[in-house]
Symmetry: C2
Subunit: 715 residues, 2 copies
């Protein structure tokens, strides 16, 4: 069992009275919603408050309430049993569900049954963080298990879901599917690299098709998993943002409850600022890349003077220094812009932020490759004035009279491979280090420092608790896990593959290796170097799906363009702009895009033929639930079949009714012409007898007039 912990931060200078009052308020609020508390010393200047539900009954009620809400919102197919004990028996509570419910109990506003502890409000400024504790035996077993097997299976995903919630589990599920899919481009890439070389059309087509299949497969898989985990539709139940400012209240059209409204038009006006923001990103980061890359080309390929080996580092240093600087500034702008857009739900806020970050990441990740693939290799000559600018600048800077020593500028098609190698191998290794090793070392160091500082402070710990409390203080110092970063990394990797791998088909092989490690290092990160995440639910990978779709589509265009532009350059007859026929480029791009769109339709069509097992299960559940409900409510009185009269019943009804109608008629006189019409033949036997006579009449009259058999006018 693990506990939810809070550590109210106590700032020394605010005075003891205020700190105490805050503390008392906190404990009271927690107790009010039925949580038991324990307090211990934290690191100097802080307390640890441990929280658990006071009783199993209370937890049961929370579970019942949560599942009832889910059913009302359409997430569950059937409402929970009214007997709470049976609810827990029917579907046991997972650790993730329990932790989520307790966390929501703490943070939900008071009118929603929670303790209303919102860290953003000044009332709770002493609350530093609220997080669940790690389940260390599980974590240890988990990591050990993963290092021993090549592939994760579905049960591993279920484990993650039960411990860390669906939001994290979806990341691992996507990573797993992506990893398995990667084997295909890796194999094709290896063959292409050995036999077809760079810029192969076959590889480009295969890779495009692959990305379409992956995307469509994942869309299905996502729904399946959501049904399996019972979270389908959960994204519609959105958590409200504490920072949201509304203009007025209105009635929710569905539930009839009051909702807070911020006019859409006002938000749209703010959203329009995204256009200048995107332009700023493109100009600043794109300019930086063009600047650094052309300088690098000048130094490496034109300049031939002294200090060349040292000067070669200058562009790299410029990039390393300015990219993060500019990114940070732009990221701040993105955050401010998103805050100003004032979304009502956490999901919408997050999606809007991710969208802006994606623009930033897109520029920093792909701009250099775009420059090489679309400017340097095909149109190297248009760089000449640029290079000349550098030559003149260098000349001016060196104040020397004699011309700068230069060599002839020759375009090197291998440049794009080298860059791809850098982005796909070097950068990923560096990334692994900064993501896992650095935080771990940093944390260990700071923990040691803290231990040194606070030596003796925790002497009052009960000896049997000492080890546990040490672990908890340790966890307090860990970073917060954000699955967004992991998604971003994988999506940008997918982008390299779709957009540029045609220039270096080995990319997928390295990604395959990287992701084998990534899958494990991400696990390790959650288990060791981060606080245990709040096990939020989700029913898809959210905004990343759009990002993947966009990259896959853009890949169809860039791959075709790179193949067309660079094949010529590679074969030696690279040359001036005019030599590359613009119509050829446009034709390949146009065809590539339309082949892509057509393939997408086809793949969707074929995939839709196969009903997803998850949806099928859901429909089956709904159907059975309704049947059960029907049986319960109506008993055996009216079933669908029984509503249809059998032969005898039908006969009886007809007879009885007709007789009754006749009696009715004789009482009322002749009735309407209609009643008279339906009274002419009383019952089946009359109709048959009269019909027989009519057939006879018609036959004899036909024979009499000896007309030939007429074709029917109604045939």
């Amino acid at each position: 069992m693990s506990y939810t912990t809070e550590s109210p931060q106590k700032a020394i200078n605010t005075g003891r009275a205020e700190a105490e009052a805050g503390f008392v308020q906190l404990i009271e609020a927690l107790t009010c919603v039925g949580l038991a508390t324990e307090v211990r010393h934290g690191d100097p200047g802080s307390l640890l408050i441990f929280v658990k539900t006071a009783s199993a009954d209370l937890l049961g009620q929370q579970v019942y309430r949560g599942r009832l809400q889910d059913w009302l919102q359409g997430v569950r197919t059937s409402g929970p049993n009214s007997d709470i004990a049976k609810v827990l028996d029917d579907e046991p509570v997972t650790e993730a569900e329990r932790l989520r419910l307790v966390y929501q109990l703490i943070i939900n506003p008071e009118n929603d049954g929670g303790a209303g502890i919102n860290q953003a409000s000044p009332k709770w400024k002493f609350v530093a963080d609220i997080f669940p504790l790690h389940d260390q035996p599980f974590n240890r077993a988990w990591i050990q298990k993963w290092t021993k097997k090549y592939l994760l299976d579905e049960s591993d995903l279920d484990d993650i879901r039960n411990k860390f919630g669906e939001s994290v589990a979806f990341y691992f599920a996507y990573l797993r599917s992506y990893f398995m899919f990667l084997t295909f481009p890796a194999a094709v890439g290896l063959i292409a690299w050995m036999s077809l070389g760079q810029f192969s059309i076959v590889y480009a087509l295969t890779c495009g098709l692959w990305s379409v299949v992956l995307l469509e497969y994942w869309k299905k898989k996502e729904v399946d998993l959501a049904v399996q985990w019972g979270v389908r539709g959960v994204s519609a139940i959105q958590l409200s943002r504490a920072e949201y400012k509304w203009d007025y209240e209105a009635e929710d059209p569905v539930t009839g409850e009051p909702v807070k409204v911020y006019p859409y038009k006002k938000r749209l006006q703010t959203q329009l600022l995204q256009i200048p923001f995107t332009m700023a990103c493109v100009l600043v980061l794109g300019g930086l890349v063009v600047f650094a890359n052309s300088l690098e080309i000048f130094i490496n390929q034109v300049y031939d003077g002294p200090g060349k080996q040292y000067l070669g580092f200058v562009p790299t240093i410029i990039l390393v220094v300015f990219t993060p600087t500019f990114s940070t500034v732009l990221m701040k702008a993105a955050n401010a812009l998103t805050d100003k857009e004032n979304y009502s739900t956490l999901d919408a806020h997050k999606a809007a932020l991710i969208q802006k970050q994606f623009v930033l990441n897109f520029m920093t990740s792909y701009m250099a490759l775009f420059f090489t693939g679309f400017v340097y290799i095909p149109f190297g000559d248009i760089l000449l004035p640029f290079l000349d600018f550098w030559r003149r600048t260098a000349q001016t800077l060196t104040f020397s009279e004699k011309p700068l020593p230069t060599q002839d500028f020759r375009i090197d098609p291998k440049r794009i491979s080298a860059q791809m190698f850098y982005f796909t191998v070097t950068a990923q290794v560096v990334n692994f280090a900064t993501e896992v090793i650095v935080p771990y070392v940093k944390h260990k160091a700071s923990a040691t420092a803290k231990q040194f500082q606070s030596r003796g402070t925790h002497a009052q710990d009960h000896p049997e608790e000492a080890e546990f409390l040490k672990r908890v203080r340790d966890e307090c110092g860990l970073e917060i896990y954000d699955v967004t970063d992991d998604y971003r990394e994988m999506v940008m990797q997918f982008g390299y593959l779709c957009l540029f791998s045609v220039a270096w088909p080995l990319a997928a092989c390295f990604f395959l290796i990287n992701n084998w490690v990534e899958l494990r290092s991400d696990g390790l990160k959650i288990a060791i170097s981060c606080k245990r995440p709040i096990p939020w639910r989700s029913d898809s990978i959210g905004p990343w799906l759009d990002a993947i779709g966009f990259l896959s589509w853009l890949g169809s265009i860039t791959s075709a363009a790179i193949v067309y532009l660079c094949r010529g350059a590679q074969n030696g007859h690279r040359g001036t702009t005019s030599q590359i026929a613009a119509w050829g480029l446009l034709l390949s791009v146009f065809f590539a895009e339309n082949i892509y769109l057509l393939t997408q339709q086809l793949v969707r069509f074929v995939m839709n033929k196969v009903e997803s097992p998850g949806l099928q299960r859901e429909r089956r559940e709904r159907f059975l639930m309704k049947k059960k409900l029907l049986a319960e409510n109506l008993g055996q009185k009216v079933t669908p079949k029984a509503a249809v009269p059998g032969v005898e019943a039908g006969e009886k009804i007809t007879r009885e009714t007709l007789e009754e109608e006749a009696r009715e008629l004789s009482r009322r006189g002749h009735g309407t012409p209609q009643d008279v019409f339906w009274q002419r033949q009383r019952g089946m036997k009359d109709t048959i007898a009269i019909g027989r006579r009519m057939i006879e009449q018609q036959m004899t009259s036909d024979h009499k007039s000896s007309s030939p058999p007429k074709p029917s006018p109604k045939a």
Copy 2:
């Protein structure tokens, strides 16, 4: 009230005994399912059998059963009340629902509670047709009302729905929306025609944007209407095809009932034949158009000899003779192919057939314009060898020594306008005539002829029924209404607008006029010149939506291409192929397509912001239904709110539980370390007291060591 009628056809030569046996069998089958029957003389050689439900109870049961099935299948949000009388009170039966249920009672197989009267089976070969009778007072009022108002309103659509079913109502709803949308391109087109002329970029962009908005609007509207009419999801309840052949039976994964399976692979193999079919259509019909058009160009623009005025009709005659001939043959192939594809449901069969017909219609409707827009105007010169072929052929045919009198070939950019005028005005007028006037005249003539033939035959009619029976015999001779033809006409019209109207912006104006008439003439057609249709349900315009989407997308490409190709030609500097830069064409097409796709995304995004009132209503209904169910099942015992303890309850639970736990512990000894941990502070007061002491300790120790206020490591 109207009745369902059947007229079993009696072939003279099959013998009286067989006819009589068939008649008796039919009456027995109808009576068995609870239908009352009356028989009357039909036209010579046929009987009329009138059918109605024997009692209101039986009808009620059928309605109940139908609605229950709908609920089980997810079409209705709530199951019907178990009290049948109340079911009819809550939601009265419309005429369409009643007629549909009675029709289904007649045709459904016996194991499904129906009479099993399937016209395709040899057992019921005497049944010529089964159809409901027109409601003449309604029809008369309906037509009168429409001729007096400019626009239909929603209540008119509801009338159609209540009388003719949702399937027909959806056609009129689409036509109404389309008609209202048409005012926009009509206005823009008129302005463009007056001020911008042919091939205006502004007009092309406006028209493209318009088609996107129409499409996305209709997608929303469709869902709204389906919810309003209570048929959303009805397309999932599919009517099985009587002709379907299955290989084996399997269990339905959802309902658990047996389903008949035809392996998907086998069908796919047949479906692949669609590729050669499409190629055949393109070759045969495309070849015909190229043949006739080039001949026409030769005669009108090159040939200058005797008989020119008569020869000019030759190409038209060729087209008029061969287009229907070839279409009929290809249509037969399409029918055979679709039959061979062996679909299990009527909907799938119909959709597959419509798809193939669409290919045919596409070729016959647009090929001539494609030829003019993409070959004749921009690349007229490549026609020269073709024209020379005609010259040589003509020379050979005339056996004359002296060269054929010719004039210089000059390309006429007005040709496309003339063609557009033909297709949009002449063809629509002709179509109106063949669709409404010809059938009406034909029917009147044949009715007169019949009356003449059968004079005296119906002398036995009861005088008060004579008029009614005459009307019924009249209706027997009418054609069957198929909404598909009407859809096709509107979709092809939409295609002219999207694909080619840039060449003649007035098109939309004429379409607007035409559709004002069309809306009324289609109403007239249903009311006067066709049998009353079976009021089938549907929840969308089905496969036509895809067709509209395809035409709208293709329009973005063709419009851009026409603008680019023909602007030059129009301005006089038309010339050889090389003068038109291929890259310019490709660039405009590429941009146009991507602007189209981007606009589509944007429009979708914006439209999704506005939740459709229909969906909202549906969600609200579901929500209220669940709340009601909850209240009924659980009473006031457990409501979501009550599950959260208030302040007192929470306190009490905590106290009680803790005390109980303590007692439990003392009984069992010390318990686990965890139990011990949670026992240290008993209740809120303990925690507060101990926490206060800890705060005090930390403050004093801080002051003693006089360290400066540390920033929190967790900040």
